[in-house]
Amino acid sequence: MATPTRPDKTLGESLQDHGLSRRGFLKLCAATASMMALPASMVPRIAAALEQAKRPSVIWLSFQECTGCTESLTRSHAPTLENLILDMVSLDYHHTLQAASGEAAEAARLTAMEANAGEYLVIVDGSIPGPDANPGFSTVAGHSNYDILMETVEHAAAVIAVGTCAAFGGLPQAKPNPTGAMSVMDLVKDKPVINVSGCPPVPMVITGVLAHYLTFGRLPELDGYGRPMAFFGQSIHDRCYRRPFYDKGLFAERFDDRGAKEGWCLYRLGCKGPTTYNACATMKWNSGTSWPIESGHPCLGCSEPSFWDAGGFYEPVSVPLTANPGTTLLTAGAVGAVVGGTAASVAKHRVKKANADRQPVTVEALEKTL
């Protein structure tokens, strides 16, 4: 993490240097296909692409968040986090995980931005007090989240908003939204933004999106909310193993009745599965052990916008959208957008300028807007 230069070796070369056999590589590709929610028949293509892949530089920014998303990522089991950091991406800045702190940490971010201008990925977790909000609600190194975000994304290839807070505002934006919280896509309009929602997102989905970018050098196909179709293309309800009970009208009415014990559908206990798009039903949680509905609890709809304000968690959703969930999804403009470096030298110059322009939040400013 200390040397944020873009490594020139391809992934294939660096894995061979690590002594990985061809069978080991084949296995990595099988796991990667699974992680990207691609069919196993894609393994040979993935192998060919990964062999040539270059590790992207990643800058991870944390704003108004609970660190649950990072907690989730560090529990991603395939590949292990160490593999992910060392082999798949060059994680050049993540203020919770990195060893450097203070000025050295901020310097690492700026260096990575300069060295990889136009090509680096920005991952954001947490929502951002908008430009009209008091900048002091959330700061990093004395600078407002808004300033840091806008400065960092300016020369990024793409931005990945990890977690419902970054993707849609999440808990900080819940009524009455005291900090004026906004999502990344509310603020970043001129870069591809990929939303990996969930509170927190399924770890394998975070790594899966990175693996997709790494493998194919472009962003995955997105739904109307900017979420990757491979993971968010189907509702929880459509992939739920309790679905045969829903179709038969067999519902648990209480958490301790016969229906609950028999594993019947949790719709009447407030399950938001019919209106929620996420990968829990197949990717599951805790290294594939189980997932909320398998543990007997209704889905809260955590990957959807405003899920905190969508009525009680234990109230049944009023309209089950079972007929044709695909109709709620639009095709996003950013579908398969190829990202690549352009005008890197101009960008480098601007990075320096932005750094000089950015002003720390002062006590006076805080008091004025409180």
Partner: protein
């Protein structure tokens, strides 16, 4: 809806979603998919992989599927990036390939319908290197360069 639920018994009707939490009926469609794949292998030689970790299985569904498929004669472990366990099912040509990492966590679980699963075969690039490797050993042993054929 049967009141008593023998958890281990096969469902009387394959559509086992009624009754026990152990039979959600999501394994049967996979058997059909395997049948299609096997037919393709027999008639055209085309191989198929099915990613079982991508299927919406409930508790017990996977056990039911592997019970149905049974256990064949061949069992193998590949030691590369953690263990991969290969198990032939009772249906020749249908293999379970279970990929684990070195921390014993499952990375993914495939059904492979093929004469031999790919991970057991030497990879083409490795075969190309094989002759050189063997020559190097012969040379070390005998002190002479083996004649190339």
């Amino acid at each position: 809806m049967p009141e008593s639920d023998p958890m281990s018994a096969h469902p009387a009707t394959p559509n086992g979603c009624q009754g026990t939490p152990r039979s959600f009926g999501n394994a049967l469609p996979v058997l059909n998919e395997i049948r299609h794949a096997l037919e393709k292998l027999v008639t055209t030689g085309e191989e198929t992989r099915i990613d079982l970790s991508a299927l919406p299985f409930g508790p017990g569904d996977l056990d039911r599927l592997t019970d149905w498929l049974g256990t064949g004669e061949v069992e193998a472990t590949v030691d590369a990036l953690g263990p991969t366990r290969v198990q032939e099912t009772a249906i020749p040509g249908v293999w379970l390939v279970d990929y684990h990492n070195s921390e014993q966590q499952r990375l993914t679980l495939h059904i492979e319908v093929a004469p031999v699963p790919e991970i057991l075969r030497p990879q083409p690039q490795d075969l190309a290197d094989a002759l050189n490797q063997l020559d190097a050993r012969l040379e070390q042993e005998t002190g002479t360069t083996p004649l190339s054929s």
